[in-house]
C-alpha cells in the first residue's frame, strides 16, 4: 500500500547569525499515520526544524510541504491542521484548565458547541477531568505537561508535533505520556516528535531520523538501525592521558582490535572504543588480552546488545548518553554544541 508523505522537506535550512547552520539542507519525508522521531543531542537542530514546520521560524532557504500545503505560502492553512506541544511550560498559571483549553478552541475558530465537546474529549484523553476547573498553578509538573499537550489536540490536528515531550519528567509520567501519544496516534494523527532519549525512540517511534549538526545521519525503523550493528557491543573506556597521547592510544588499540578475526567493527569515541563482535562473552577476555599485550590499560569495559546509541556513535563518533539535556533556552536548539 502506498502511504502518502504528510510532511516533506526539501533542503530545508536555517542559518543563525549568518554562520551557525542550525538546520543544514534537511530532506525529510514523514508518512501519514506514523510516529516519527528526530533523535539527536542538544543543538543538533531538532527544535529549529520543528519550529520551522509549525510556522514559528522562517527558513533561511529550502522548502517544506505539509499535507500538500507549501509552508512559505500557506502558513495559515497549515496552522489549522497541526497541533504543537513545545518544550517550554506552555501554560498560563492564572487560568483554569478548562478556560485555557477554551482559549485555544477560540483561537482555532471552532464554534461554541465544538469547543465544549473537544474540551471534554481531550480532558478524558489526558485524564484531567478532575483538575479541569482548578487553577493551573495548582497542577503538578506532569499535569501541566498533559494539559499543554491537550491544548495541542483541541483542533483535532492531522499532525501533532511534540518537542521533547518528556523532557524533565519522572519515569512514571514519561511512560504515561508515551501511552497518550500512542492513543492519539491510533486516532489517525501523524506524530512527529524530537527527543534525546533513546528509550523514547526505541519504544515509541515507527521510524527514526538521527540528526547531528543539522543533518540527518541515519534513518530507518529502530530495528533497522540497530541491525546495522550486528552481534554484541563491547564498550571500552580508556584512562585519560594528555590529549595527544590519548588519541594515539585509542588509534593504536583500534588498529590492533580491527585485525582480530572475531571483531566485526571498531568505532573510536573521544574517550574509548566501541567494539562490535559476534559473541560478547568469549570476545571480552580476548580483547582484554590483546590490550594487555600492547600495554593499553582499559579503565572500563561493558558488554551490551547494540542500541540506538551505538548507531549514533557509529555515525558521529560521540555518544548520546553523555548528554544531560537540560537546555531549555528561549531560542531552542540554537546553541552550538561545544567541541565541534
Amino acid at each position: 500500500m502506498l502511504v502518502k508523505n504528510i510532511i516533506e522537506t526539501f533542503n530545508l535550512t536555517k542559518v543563525y547569525n549568518e554562520k551557525i547552520r542550525a538546520v543544514d539542507d534537511l530532506n525529510l519525508a514523514i508518512k501519514e499515520g506514523e510516529i516519527f522521531g528526530l533523535l539527536g543531542p542538544n543543538g543538533a537542530g531538532k527544535t529549529t526544524t520543528i519550529r520551522m514546520l509549525v510556522t514559528l521560524t522562517r527558513p533561511t532557504s529550502g522548502r517544506a510541504v505539509i499535507d500538500g500545503h507549501d509552508l512559505a505560502k500557506e502558513a495559515r492553512t497549515i496552522r489549522e491542521i497541526i497541533g504543537y506541544s513545545s518544550q517550554q511550560a506552555g501554560v498560563d498559571d492564572n487560568a483554569k484548565g478548562r478556560e485555557y483549553l477554551g482559549l485555544f478552541g477560540n483561537y482555532y475558530h471552532l464554534d461554541g458547541q465544538t469547543i465544549k465537546r473537544r474540551i471534554d474529549e481531550v480532558l478524558v484523553l489526558m485524564e484531567l477531568e478532575d483538575a479541569a476547573d482548578r487553577l493551573i498553578s495548582t497542577y503538578s509538573g506532569g499535569m501541566q505537561k498533559r494539559l499543554e499537550i491537550a491544548t495541542a489536540l483541541i483542533n483535532k490536528p492531522k499532525i501533532l508535533i511534540l518537542d521533547e515531550p518528556t523532557l524533565g519528567l519522572d519515569v512514571q509520567t514519561r511512560l504515561r505520556i508515551w501511552d497518550y501519544i500512542r492513543e492519539i496516534n491510533k486516532e489517525d494523527t501523524t506524530i512527529l516528535l524530537t527527543t534525546h532519549y533513546l528509550e523514547e525512540t526505541d519504544k515509541l517511534c515507527d521510524r527514526v531520523a538521527i540528526v547531528d549538526h543539522g543533518k540527518i545521519v541515519a534513518l530507518g525503523t529502530p530495528d533497522e538501525l540497530k541491525s546495522e550493528i550486528s552481534g554484541d557491543a563491547v564498550t571500552l573506556t580508556l584512562p585519560l592521558q594528555d590529549p595527544d597521547q590519548h588519541a594515539k592510544t585509542i588509534e593504536r588499540a583500534k588498529q590492533l582490535l580491527s585485525s582480530q578475526t572475531y571483531v566485526r567493527d571498531v568505532v573510536a569515541r573521544d574517550d574509548g572504543l566501541n567494539v562490535y563482535v559476534d559473541e560478547g562473552s568469549s570476545a571480552v577476555p580476548q580483547i582484554l588480552r590483546v590490550l594487555e599485550e600492547a600495554d593499553v590499560k582499559a579503565e572500563g569495559i561493558t558488554l551490551t546488545r547494540p542500541s540506538l546509541d551505538d548507531v549514533f556513535v557509529k555515525y558521529t563518533g560521540r555518544t548520546l548518553r553523555e548528554e544531560k539535556g537540560t537546555g531549555r533556552g528561549a531560542l531552542g536548539g540554537v546553541r552550538p554544541r561545544g567541541g565541534r
Partner: protein, 266 residues
C-alpha cells in the same frame, strides 16, 4: 509572529480573536489580588503622601491653585499610566517566558487581533485607573471643572500614552525574551519620564534644562492637556497638541511592536 502579514481579511475571526485576547487579559487582571492592590491602593498612597509632602509648594508665587491635591490629581492619573504600562509589559514577558505566546502563534489566530486585544486592555484598565483616582480625589475634596467631557478627554489622553509605552516595552520583551533588560529599561525610564514632566510640579519652577527636556517627553504633553480640565477648563490648544503628539506616540509604539512581533519566532 512567525512570518507573514497574512491573517487579515476575515472580519469575523478578527473581532472574535480580539475579544478572546482582551477577555483573557481582563480575566488575569480580575483574578490577581496583586492587580487590585496596584490599581486601588497605590493611588491612595500617592495621593495621601504627596499631598502632605508638597502641601506648602502651593504658597509659592504664581502657583496655579491653592490646593496641591487639585494640582496633583491630574498629574497622578498620568503618572499611574506610566507605572501601569510597565506592569503590562511584564505581563507580556510572562507569556513569552512560559511559552504561552509561542503556542498561541501556532494557532490560526489573527496576529493583529493579539496586538489590538492588548491595546484595548490598556485602554480598559486605563479607564478603571482614572475612575479610581477620580473617586479618591473627589472624596478628598478635589473638583474637575469640566465634568464628564473632561473625564472623557482624560481617558483618551491617558490611554494613548499607555498604549505607546506598553507597545514599546512589549517590543523590548519580544526581542529580549528575558526579564533583566526589561527591569533595567523600565527602572531607567520610569522616574525620568515622570520627573521630567510637570506631573508633580509646574514647569516654571524647574530649571531651564528640565523645561527643555519636557518638550521631548510625551508624558508632559499628557499632563499639559489634562491638568487644565481639572483647574480652569478646556485648553483646546494643549488638548490639540497633546492629541497629535500622543497619537503619533501610540502609532509609533504599535508599529515597532508589530515589527518585533513579526520577527518573534526567528
Amino acid at each position: 509572529m512567525a512570518y507573514g502579514r497574512e491573517g487579515g481579511g476575515d472580519t469575523v475571526p478578527f473581532i472574535r480573536d480580539t475579544l478572546t485576547s482582551l477577555t483573557r487579559l481582563l480575566r488575569t487582571f480580575t483574578r490577581s489580588p496583586f492587580y487590585a492592590f496596584v490599581y486601588l491602593v497605590q493611588p491612595l498612597i500617592w495621593l495621601l503622601l504627596f499631598t502632605q509632602i508638597f502641601k506648602s509648594v502651593t504658597m509659592l508665587p504664581d502657583f496655579p491653585t491653592s490646593s496641591y491635591l487639585q494640582f496633583f490629581a491630574p498629574g497622578l492619573i498620568v503618572t499611574l499610566a506610566v507605572f501601569n504600562s510597565n506592569f503590562t509589559g511584564f505581563a507580556l514577558l510572562n507569556d513569552i517566558n512560559f511559552g504561552v505566546l509561542e503556542k498561541v502563534l501556532v494557532t490560526p489566530v489573527n496576529r493583529y487581533s493579539l496586538i489590538l486585544g492588548t491595546v484595548l486592555y490598556v485602554a480598559v484598565t486605563g479607564v478603571l485607573q482614572v475612575a479610581v483616582v477620580l473617586i479618591i480625589s473627589f472624596a478628598l475634596g478635589a473638583t474637575l471643572v469640566t465634568g464628564v467631557g473632561g473625564i472623557l478627554i482624560t481617558i483618551v489622553i491617558v490611554s494613548l500614552l499607555g498604549i505607546g509605552l506598553t507597545s514599546l516595552l512589549g517590543a523590548l520583551a519580544l526581542r529580549a525574551k528575558r526579564v533583566e533588560p526589561l527591569i533595567f529599561v523600565s527602572n531607567l525610564i520610569t522616574l525620568p519620564l515622570i520627573f521630567l514632566s510637570s506631573a508633580l510640579i509646574p514647569a516654571y519652577l524647574t530649571p531651564d534644562w528640565v523645561q527643555t527636556a519636557m518638550k521631548f517627553n510625551p508624558v508632559n504633553y499628557a499632563v499639559l492637556a489634562v491638568r487644565p480640565l481639572f483647574l480652569t477648563g478646556y485648553d483646546w490648544n494643549a488638548i490639540g497638541v497633546g492629541l497629535v503628539v500622543l497619537v503619533a506616540w501610540a502609532v509609533a509604539g504599535i508599529i515597532i511592536a508589530e515589527y518585533a512581533f513579526r520577527r518573534f519566532g526567528d
